[in-house]
Amino acid sequence: MSSLWPRIEPLLARVEKPARYIGMERGAAAPAHRPGDASWLLVYPDTYEVGLPNQGLQILYEILNERDDAAAERAYAPWVDLEAELRSHRVPLFSVETHRPAGDFDVIAFNLSAELVYTNVLNCLDLAGVPVRSERRAADAPLVVAGGHCAFNPEPMADFVDAFVIGDGEEAVGEMSDVIGAWKRAGRTNREGVLRELATIPGVYVPALYDVEYDGPFIREVRPRFDEVPARVDKRTVADLAEWPYPKQQLVPLVEVVHDRLNVEIFRGCTRGCRFCQAGMITRPVRERPEEQVRTMVQDGLRRTGYDEVALTSLSSADFSGVDGLVADLVNEQEGSGCVSLSLPSLRVDAFTVGIASEIQKVRRTGLTFAPEGGTWRIRQVLNKLITEDDLYAAVDGAYSQGWRRVKLYFLAGVPTEMDEDTRGIAELARNVVKIGRKYTKQASCTASVGGFVPKPHTPFQWFGQNSVDELERKIGLLRGAVRKSGVQLRWHDPAATFVEGIASRGDRRVGRVIERVWREGGTFQEWSERFELGRWLDAMAAEGLDADWYVTRHRTADEVLPWDHISAGLHRDFLWQDWQAALHEHGLPDCRWTPCYDCGVCTDYALEHVVASPVAPAGGSQGTGQDLSRGGDTPVEFLGVREKASSGAR
């Protein structure tokens, strides 16, 4: 394999941000590519700035490069300017480490984090010189693999991907590499053989080995074509995060990227049970990293990277057992060593959280973000986002009173049972937040950020018919009227993009033809608003004889075979259906990590357990306590910062 660098280098003078394509990050591997090594090209199908920080990709990159029989490099989707140069100079997609042609690798593996990147996957394959359709690939063509959250409904990408990995990849990637290495050493000839062997690895789904039988527009059955191929593919789950302290060598890019900081994953999984949240449903159970390991990873990581910011990441970071003590210690430890800041993304809404935030942001209290998601208590019970108004207002009061000036609130519009009263409730909450803030400062402001809801597979809302573009636009109109002259800034996600996400989110295998058509028409980088066009998607649906509304806005019934029914996140279909019914009856469901098991199916089927250091919920609000949620507000509110002040005098 030879480096394409001499051919790429002159092209970089003509493109914006050429440093996207040079690699050279601290922590990057310099793989040797010994003969017989399974070579992996890990691709994030979006720009370098968006893709580089992806922790999943970095974890697998390290695990593969630690093996003595594998080598992994990375690639990112070239922006349209470089793509044009590559095509006109006949230079293929390349890795950023050694600038090898993508087609020279044994495996091209994609991270699928969002539906709107699907057309970029096809574009990357095409730029690699690999046929986009699996069936057209020569026996010795690279294997095309995909993983990430979107792989939980692999069907829209089933025509293009040879093998999907469902769930945590830490263990599966090694097992796959064994099989792929053997295939390579045997001369990369028997493609069907290697795919059939991959299909026997738990968590690996090879779509070409399954026949889909239709009944009109509906699916009758998805059936494996061979005996040894499992009828249902179960997700992989790493039982104990402590065994996987990755990334050990987080990549430090030379250019600014999103989340440009040290990231330490403090736990995986979330059982808050928010019914709209696919991440929370498919990553169960909760697996905390031991606190001691977190401290070590923070210290070693800061030392090695030179970063001045560290984020403790998870789906709800304030839920980590003993998070207050951990945060206080980390803040104190870093105080002497050069202005390191700490951040906790994904915070829940309560006073406890504000206390932690005040611990972290001692000086620069500019903005604080909460996600109440729904505008009324009724709709929040439907969503199972059990935040009372008193909790929210107490949290916000705490924030403004302790010096924050800007509060950002995240909401969903177009959720099940939503009525205009609920939509307007979003504006009312936000207006009240501004009023609270104005008690403390005239500069108090509140941003309400509203996303259109896209029902996701493997959630209780997977049966719900998404709102149409018109309906979402009407709701945004309602909100715009309701926040006028209130000090509330309203932001919203484009309903047209939400609609297309809906096509892909719950699409079946037939949607693949639409994705291919949109890509052929030039529809790449669809998650970039300047590149997105709804018309392209609607035209492609029509051209392929598919009804967009049937896929997006239609409610599904209990007996319908869903396109992802042969993929399992461990959640029993009965549980999801019951939880869907409970949602419609406005019944909340407690968090099973601190309350008795309601048997969603994950722990019992996979013989797993929550790994949680504290058996009790954190204090500070209805969301944390598991107390009588229907009343709410009677939990004593205690601010961490305030308590410290009281005990230690003035700071």
Binding site: L12, A19, Y21, L254, V255, G338, C339
Partner: protein
Amino acid sequence: MRGDAGFPVRIRFAKRGKVRFISHRDVARAFERAFRIEQLPLAFTQGFAPRPKVSFGLALSVGHESDAEYLDVQLVDEVPLDSLARRVSDALPVGIDVSGTVALADRAPALQEAVTSVAYRITVTGPDDEHVGADELGVAVDQALARPSLPVTRTRKGHEVTEDLRSIVRTMAVTDADDLGPVLDLELSTQPRGTRPAEVLTAIDGNLVDRRVLRTKQWIERGGARLEPLEADARSRVLEARAS
């Protein structure tokens, strides 16, 4: 930087190879991280968002290489300078190498204001790597130098502005050739304003391209003397790092 107690240090570094594609700002961030990795005793600015006190010289365009970049960093304690170049280079991206260090006098003028001229070595081609003859270029360069003015027109904030570069160009001569074409050495003033090598080529002939650019030197002229920035405000012997 000026007027602070502590230990100000001036560093000279090279930026060569693939890393030339990162921006001036990216280089600054890389140095900040390298200083943290080496746990240098950095001085910080006051205020809500304290930043290490590091100040850079003239920006180098993305894609250009250099053997003569400079920065000043304010430390709160003295550090051994003999190992500093090696330590910082090890923590920097490949291609950025510290080539010299010096303890800086207190209240030394900032690099941005102090530097009076910079020298470049550029490989000249036509569009699409078309070859340009060395003799042909030599004649064009001499003719340009003989002219009383070297006007270039550029669009600035929507207006067409014509500037005369003649007073900026101090010396310019074809000195060598590499695989892509003739190599031009030139020295350009930076005060009261400077220009980029590409602008000078445009003034000579609109078809010339600065295919490779290497900044070779920066100079500080003061009281009739011409000083390399490490020497200009040194309060210690200049330490030249060995090439790695």
